[in-house]
Symmetry: C3
Amino acid sequence: MITLTSDFGLKDSYVAEMKGVIMSINPYATIIDITHEINKFDIKMGAFILTSATNYFPKGSIHVAVVDPGVGTDRRGLLVQTKKSFFVGPDNGILSLASQNQGIEHIYQIENPKFIRTNVSSTFHGRDVFASVAAHLDKGVEPKFFGPEISNLINPEFTKTVKKNDGIIGEVLHIDNFGNIITNIKIQELFEIEKVKVRISNQQFELVLARTYGQVKTQHPLALIGSHNFLEIAVNQGNAAEKYNIKIDDEVEVTPV
Amino acid sequence: MITLTSDFGLKDSYVAEMKGVIMSINPYATIIDITHEINKFDIKMGAFILTSATNYFPKGSIHVAVVDPGVGTDRRGLLVQTKKSFFVGPDNGILSLASQNQGIEHIYQIENPKFIRTNVSSTFHGRDVFASVAAHLDKGVEPKFFGPEISNLINPEFTKTVKKNDGIIGEVLHIDNFGNIITNIKIQELFEIEKVKVRISNQQFELVLARTYGQVKTQHPLALIGSHNFLEIAVNQGNAAEKYNIKIDDEVEVTPV
Amino acid sequence: MITLTSDFGLKDSYVAEMKGVIMSINPYATIIDITHEINKFDIKMGAFILTSATNYFPKGSIHVAVVDPGVGTDRRGLLVQTKKSFFVGPDNGILSLASQNQGIEHIYQIENPKFIRTNVSSTFHGRDVFASVAAHLDKGVEPKFFGPEISNLINPEFTKTVKKNDGIIGEVLHIDNFGNIITNIKIQELFEIEKVKVRISNQQFELVLARTYGQVKTQHPLALIGSHNFLEIAVNQGNAAEKYNIKIDDEVEVTPV
C-alpha cells in the first residue's frame, strides 16, 4: 500500500500524475491519500500530519511525502526504512519525525537511475523520482537497490516545551479544520487535574480539562487531550482559532488551577 | 466496499487515520469517499448527502457516516442493516434518512469491545469505533456480534412540505457546489405544467419549469426537477444562490401559473 | 482503470454517485480521481488538466471527463478510442486536446440504451451516461457497441502563439495551486538563453530562465520550463499570480535578452 502526502492541492493534475506514474509501474498498487492540503512549503505541518496519520497504517506501507521547496537543488532524495514501514521524499525534514517515531533502520539516498523516470523534471520530483521509487519498492525491489546507505537525515526544528514555575510553556503546533488549537504539550506532562489556566498569545482562560467537547455548553471553550494525545483548546461545536484569533506558533502557557 | 462521509475536511489527517485503521484490519478493503466536506456539525446536510449518494452503491456496501458533535457523550453508536446495505455511525440522525429509505431490517447498538480499538479516544469515534466496526463487518463478522439489537434510532427533523391554496410551501434543503438551490419539494407533488411562480424568502420569480439548464439563456434563472427528483432553482451556467442571496432553510413557495 | 475529471467539487454527492454507478456495474473497477475542482463550466481548463494528467496513465485506461454546461441539450456524448486509451464525455471540446495528443483511432457517438442507465436525468449525464459507459467498457464491452462511429469532434479554442520581432506572444493558460503562471509557450520555441524579458498584461520583468525555483532567492521571480514543458513564471516559495495580479488569458510576450 502506498500513501501520498503533499502541498499540491486537488485542483491541478499534479497528484493524478503521481498516481498515473505509480499505476503505470505497478497496476496492482493500492494508493491512499493522506492529504494534499498541507500549507504550501510548510515542512513542519507536513511532518506533523504525516506522523499523525502513518501511526495508523499497516506494517509494510510505503509513505510518500512531498513538501519540497528545494526541488531541483542539491537537496537529497531519501528512502527511509523503519521498523514498521517505508518513507520516501526529499531530505528537508518532512520525513524525520514520522520515521524516528517508528524507529529508523536504514536510510538510503535515492540515486539509481533505473528506478527514476527518464527526463526528470527539475520542478517535479514528486512525480519523476518519489512516485516512481515508491511504485518499484511496492513491486518488490529491495530498498538497498535504490542508492547508497547514509547515516543521517535533516530534522525540522520543532520547538520543545519548557517547564516554568508550576506550568508548561509550549506553542500552537496545528490548527485543524474545526478550528481546534492543537499544542505541542503532551499528555504525559499533564497532571491529574480538573481545571487549567491557559494563556495563548495575550489571552487568559480558565478552562475545564474535559474528556470531550460535549462536557461544556455549545460555543463554550474547553481544554482537552485530543486524539493525538496533545493538549487542545477547543470550543464545543465552534471554531476556537477564529473565535480567539489564534495562529500557528503562538506561545501557549498551561498551569494547573 | 466501504464508503466514508464526514465533516472532517481533507486538510487534516483524520480521514487518513480512519482509512489506516480499516486497511490494518482488512487489507483488501475497497474504500470510497462520499464527501468529507459536510458543513461542520450539520447533521441534516450529512443525512441528505448520504441518502443521495448511497442510492447508487451496490448491494452489501458498508456506509460509514460521521458528523458527530456529541462524540464521547452517552449518545449511542449504531450499526443499521437495511434491505440493501449497512450504515455505521453515531445515533444522532445522520443515518436515519438513508437507512429508512432502503428499508431498515435490524439496528444494533455497537458495544462489543472486541471490534473496537483499545484506548478509544473520547473525541474520535470515527477512527476508534466506526472505522474499526466497518472493517470487521467487511471482513465477514456477522452484524449481531457487534452489540444488542435495539428498536429505534434518532430522526433528524426534516421539515415537511405543506399544501397552500394552489401551491406548495417547502424550504431550501441544500445548495450545491454550483449554487443550484435544491428544495424539499418532490417531483410527485408537481403537476404537468410549464411555468411556476416561485417565492424564496422575499423574492418572486416566474420561471419556466425546464427539463435542463440549456433551455434558458446563459445567466437566466429556471426551475427544474434535479437529479435527485427535488425541485431546483438554478441559473444556466451561473450561481443561483449567490445571485439571489438564498440560504439553506429559506422558505420556498411554488405555484403553477 | 477508470479516471474521473469534473467541475463537480467534492462537497456534494455527485462524484460519489458516479463511483457508485461504476462499482454497481463493475465491482472490480479501480477508480482514480484526476480532479473535481475544474473551474465551473471551464472547458479549456478541463481540457488542459485532462491532457496533462492522462499522459502519465497506463495504456488501456478509461478517462471520463465531465465539464458539461450543455447537459440535456442535443450536444452529443462521445467515446473516443486513441492509440493509448479511451476518453468518455460530452462533445464540447473537453476531450479533444487529450485525445488528439494520444492519436485518435475511432470516435463513437454514445447511443446504445443498453449501456446507459434507465430514466436518464436531463441534468446529470456524468452519472447516468458517462460513468455507466465507462464501467461497461472497463468490464470488456467492445467500443463499437456503444453507438455509431462518427468522424469528428468539437475542438476548444486554444489560442496559438505568434512570433513577433525577436520574441513570442502567447497567453496565460493556467494558474496552478501554487500561483505559478503557466503560459501556452512551449519549450521548443525557446532558445538556448539565460535571461528573458517577459511582459504580462502591462508589467515588464527581466528574469533568469532558471532550471528550478531554488536558483533565485526566496520571494524573487523567475522564468522556467515547467513540468509540462510550458514556460512558467513563478516566485520562489511565493505566489506569482497573486503578487503580480495575473489572470488566465492575460497576454504574455517573451523576448530573449
